[in-house]
Assembly symmetry: C2
Homo-oligomer: 556 residues x 2
């Protein structure tokens, strides 16, 4: 059996390795248009930032070592120009000598990846404007960054996604003044505003300029520097630009060959990762697949799922229809200077777009026992179905243990887990590692209190709407007097929770009551006292002052 | 409704708080025989070791603050001496004045905890021999430790469990020479030997003496010091002893009241945490409950489950039979100097005792991308059902990300998850936080290869049995020549995996073949080549040389 694989790296190389292990007699040809068969694409920003110093470390396997180990015919700088499904061949251009040839296959695997989006704006072809996708891009950026570095040298990152922020950190690290430009109203759009606000604040504290709600208009040459002209006509003069707007799946070959392209714009595959041609499989960034939560196809561009798909496709290429792929819930993380920002499942924005009902809790848990030194709080947002408690998404930001929370929730989302599963979860607890109630367990408990109607939630933005309208509400700060004095929300009266029972007669019961504390726990206790004392319309501010301080408009 | 709670801390105090939130009109009386209602018992070793310096940090709530917040009648130093079920009262002795009284209840909650086991050996009452369970114990040890500290001062810990090792680290930290004595053949018996070996090695490297397979015989006074006499009649002279043999559930009150005691020796409760008397609930260290994997009752002594039980019991005490407890899979962790050691589910030893069939993989994954600096490998052991892939238990040891792996597997064990769920898990990946294949995913893949009969596993101990018997086998080191030269297993021949295909004719096919590499991956590739080239009886050494070096007897 002869297998031809188009594209190396996570998808193609992993599939080839598994194929050979499944079938020692397999004849395997890998056709890669680039120079490298297997490299650490997620590590590239860190090579630019000199966190990874040794360029050799970026290469996991060379074409020769890979070919030897897996008895595979690895041809780099060989670009496939067409798939000829009728005669089961691919047309290949050997970029070493520009000769063209055809290569036959029994089974073909497409792993063509994705390409950076380059916006069709004036000046985009000027020098020192880069995208980052492979080692060649990386080398160019690193060389340019070294060349242009001087006191006051500056770089602009267009696009504040995960990769954009990694580039911001790494260019800052080597000495650049960095500006991040994001068209949306906040960076890291897989995260919602309260959590993204923490990331933005951290970027600013580290000395990175962040411009949001403002897109790219054009580029201009200004002497030997660049001017980035934004939609509001403001200009950023800089020495280096990284375009990090996003990527699009490489579907040209598949399209030209008449393979089915899905509604999300990726190569369509079934659950066995087989395309609309039973002799052709596809994996990685170029495919689309239904999201386990929405059931709707989407493209994700993540290394973990690509590796898993490669393993599954290889199995099905040898033993047809044996292993099913179950989709990705878009779990992602980035280091942003001293914090991590991660998300899984669907954001509030995505849920609204899809018309899916949801409720949200935001908590600010300690990463481990508060009495054990060194802990810095993290911030966790949990989106869930308000009726069933099905977990729809989660986001976390903070200096410690962010990945742990998101990995646990990611696993539950893939298994249609609920907030009750979080409540009943069990974790490895000792003071240096956690608390008796873990952050995810605690968030689950808050969500359970909402679903059980023990507590009515009000989000910071909802409270601000009421305050914008001068709504007639009881707004009660249930923190201690000294906390209330330090800062609070405009118009709030202060009844500390431990004394609240004495003041019940002073609170009018003919209007809505909103209570709040620092993070939400005392507010919950207060709202239980009020609700059980005859108050009908009591709400607790989700995330308390810690959230309100980040995004509230009526701080006192 | 009047609720009486016997015992504070994790179980009783948490239940009282939830009770009040469920029922503002509840009359709540907490009877605690000790001085403190709510303290950080898991933090006590770290107060002794001065990692926690401020004693006040150990107290989460005072009786007064707790009483105010939850409108509860908190009576510390009030010991319950009997439960009078016929008249629904408890007999109480007020330790302030030694007066006795009866207190009526509608619903009673037992949260009496567990007590340290004190072995009935000669000399156990000598001064400077301590157990550690509460703040009073902690204060005594801390005072004694300060008093006895001098150059050469030494401490002996009897019992090398999680708490014993935390005490070893903390006494070492303040200047003691520490010896840990463990009756079993290795410390941390919830972990199996290969992983426990890493912990023991680390303890020794840090300067702690470890004595195993040797129990306590007696204590003797030697001038103003103590001699610990062991079963082999050897003596350890020291200044301070901590008995950390284990704890037993406090069931005396329940027993005397005729409540059902279960087969594991804890207070029997149903899934609503109700005892055999419908007006009495019980939570925490004193109860037993079926293990989700074995279905057999056992006692665990963990803070996380106690907190959850308190929440559930409180709900059922207000709204009968509304929330079920699903049991604990015994997930635990300890910091041991610079590494963490954690376990969940059942160890190999426990599985053998219970006659449950299992298979095991041991992996040595990097905690994050190998090209990203700072990663130190961890060690993961996964026990699973060899037919269904059901996960039965897992253990991890290492300096980074140990808790994350165990939390994920713990969640799966609670949900009857399989190794296929690990393979299909999704995690937050960026180079500083993980690898494209996470440690648990990778372990799941190895397990899947075994279940799918793609690879036959052989454990280090099984190989040693063959070597002990001088069995006639092909033993092949498939690492590179320089690796083989550095160290290997006695009698191994060296065919590097990338050249193995050339040497197939040199390997006799009339006997068992065992291949090995450094961690197991190249061994797997080699075993696939051999198995697909007509070799019938091929085994891959699980965990490779990294495991064999720890526990193997035939190192070359």
């Amino acid at each position: 059996m002869k297998y031809v694989i188009i594209g190396g790296v996570a998808g193609g190389a992993s599939a080839a390795a598994r194929l050979k292990r499944m079938n020692e007699d397999a004849e395997i040809v890998i056709l890669e248009k680039g120079e490298h068969i297997s490299y650490a694409n997620c590590g590239l920003p860190y090579f630019i930032g000199n966190t990874i110093n040794d360029r050799k470390k970026l290469f996991l396997q060379t074409p020769v070592s890979f070919g030897n180990r897996y008895d595979a015919d690895v041809r780099t700088l060989n670009e496939v120009t067409a798939i000829n499904r009728d005669r089961k061949t691919v047309s290949v251009k050997n970029l070493h000598n520009n000769k063209e040839y055809e290569e036959g296959y029994d089974i073909l695997l497409l792993s063509p990846g994705a390409s950076p989006i380059i916006p069709p704006v004036e000046g985009v072809d000027l020098p020192n404007i880069y995208t980052l996708r492979n080692v060649t891009d990386c080398d160019r950026i690193k060389m340019c960054a070294a060349d242009k570095l001087s006191v006051g040298a500056s770089a602009v990152i267009i696009g504040g996604g995960f990769i954009g922020l990694e580039m911001a950190e790494n260019l800052h690290k080597i000495g650049y003044q960095v500006t991040v430009v994001e068209k949306a109203d906040h960076v890291l759009t897989p995260l919602d505003w309260p959590l993204a606000a923490i990331v933005q604040q951290h970027l600013i504290e580290q000395g990175v300029r962040v411009i949001t709600s403002n897109g790219l208009q054009t580029f201009k040459q200004v002497d030997n520097r660049l001017a980035v002209v934004l939609e509001d006509n403001s200009e950023l003069v800089c020495d280096l630009v990284v375009l990090s707007i996003g990527v699009r799946p490489n579907t040209d070959l598949a399209k030209a060959a008449g393979l089915k392209i899905g509604e999300a714009g990726g190569i369509w595959v079934d659950e066995y990762l087989q395309t609309s041609d039973e002799c052709i499989f596809a994996v990685g960034d170029a495919i689309e697949f239904p999201h386990p939560v929405t059931g709707k196809p989407y493209c994700n561009f993540l290394a973990g799922p690509a590796n898993l798909q490669a393993r599954i496709a290889a199995m099905n290429m040898v033993y047809p229809q044996t292993v099913k792929y179950s989709g990705s819930v878009a779990t992602a993380i980035a280091k942003v200077f001293n914090i991590a920002a991660a998300s899984t499942g669907l954001s509030e924005a995505a849920l609204k777009r899809q018309g899916i009902a949801f409720q949200t809790v935001i908590t600010h848990p300690a990463p481990h026992a508060t009495y054990y030194p060194g802990g810095k709080p993290l911030h966790l947002k949990l989106n869930f179905d308000p009726e069933t408690g099905l977990i729809l998404g989660a986001q976390a930001v903070g200096p410690m243990n962010v990945d742990k929370q998101i990995d646990i929730i990611s696993l539950l989302i893939k298994h249609q887990g609920t907030i009750f599963d979080l409540v009943n979860s069990e974790h490895a607890y000792a003071p240096p590692f956690g608390s008796a109630k873990s952050p995810v367990m605690f968030a689950g408990m808050v969500a359970e209190n909402i679903i059980s109607h023990l507590m009515n939630p009000i989000q910071a933005a909802e409270l601000d709407e009421l305050l914008d309208q001068n709504a007639d509400i009881n707004l009660i700060d249930v923190r201690e007097i000294q906390e209330h004095k330090a800062d609070s929300i405009q118009g709030a009266v202060n009844y500390p929770v431990d004394e609240l029972r004495e003041f019940l007669d002073d609170i009018p019961n003919d209007k809505k009551t909103v209570v709040f504390c620092e993070v939400g726990l005392r507010g919950y206790i207060a709202s239980r006292i009020l609700m059980q004392s005859g108050f009908d319309n009591v709400y607790n501010l989700i995330g308390g002052m810690k959230t309100y301080r980040l995004i509230g408009k009526h701080l006192r």
